[in-house]
Amino acid sequence: MDCKKAEWLLLQSLDERPGPEEAALLNGHLEGCPSCRRKAEEYRTIARLVRPQTVPEPLPYFRERFLARLRENEKSSPALAWVKWAHGAVALSLAAFLFFGAGILLFQPQEPRELSRTERFVLQDENPLGEAGNILDQKKAEDRNMMLIFASVGDPEVSRRYRP
């Protein structure tokens, strides 16, 4: 038997697990191996020292104290229930907020889009040449020039333009 196997049996022997044959083999090895004999002594010493000599009793009135603690917990349970309810309410409010927020974002009314010049011409019967004709009809060159300047500024509001 080698020392590795002997150590394994030694550890087993701390719990009295090896059978009589293995125990005899171990004892035979220990007799001829001072190193394993020292190891065996160390394991046994540690096993003895690690075990408490006495285990004290629980403090007095263990059950009564437990029941009192339980009642105390039960008393504070309405508060716990309220906290649970509050957590639920917060989660629900958050979900509702997100739901309505998403709804508003998805279904918000579209602002009327500005029509292009062609659309205005077609849909609103606006004659693009009407203004040019009006300018060219001016008899005074000064008026015609001023009207051309204002028209070129590009202000779509015709009422703000120069009129002689």
Partner: protein, 190 residues
């Protein structure tokens, strides 16, 4: 009243029925808590917390394992939390401050008793420094004296794993103490 009925009544919120179970199991749970904390007051507090936790977890108890095993599992998990929380504090504790004073041997001199107590403290200190999984299994087996089968059920490990982990834990503890084991005499020599 048998245990099954007590459990059923406790599951429906009967604190008094659970109180009977507390009375039956308080010694074992306290002993386990003491194995981890080595302090009577801390062990008492731990045991109380274990029963409170068990009472509120009882509706989820499916009787797949025995009630005792289930309760022990809660106790071990709670004790692990306790060890984690107290790891820093334990490292600061002096070897001489650890644990309850042991009973003096009847025929030993005061000096012999002092040396023996010093040795026990050194071993406890070394145990406290082991990785958690080794500390837990050594506590269950060597301090609380639970059977391999019980440990297997509590830690949800196969018997083979319990065996090999226990061996590794004992080897590790011996290695941790090797320097002191080799020393002859003195307060810390084993």
């Amino acid at each position: 009243m048998d245990e099954k009925e007590l459990i059923q009544r406790s599951q429906s919120g009967d604190g008094e029925a659970f109180g009977v179970l507390v009375e039956r199991y308080k010694g074992k749970v306290f002993s386990l808590a003491y194995g981890f904390s080595r302090d009577r007051t801390a062990a008492d507090d731990l045991a109380q917390e274990v029963f409170i936790k068990a009472f509120y977890s009882l509706p989820r108890f499916k009787a797949e394992s025995g009630f005792g095993t289930w309760l022990y599992r809660i106790a071990v998990n709670h004790a692990k939390d306790f060890l984690r929380k107290n790891r820093r504090r334990q490292k600061d504790v002096s070897i001489q401050d650890v644990g309850e004073p042991a009973l003096a041997a009847p025929n030993a001199s005061p000096e012999e008793n002092r040396i023996e107590e010093g040795r026990r403290n050194v071993v406890r200190e070394a145990l406290a420094r082991l990785p958690e999984k080794y500390r837990v299994i050594l506590t269950l087996r060597d301090i609380d004296g639970l059977s391999y089968e019980d440990i297997s059920g509590i830690l949800k490990l196969s018997p083979g794993t319990v065996d090999s982990r226990l061996h590794r834990a004992r080897r590790k503890l011996r290695e941790t103490l090797a320097g002191r084991l080799g020393r002859q005499g003195g307060d810390d020599g084993l």
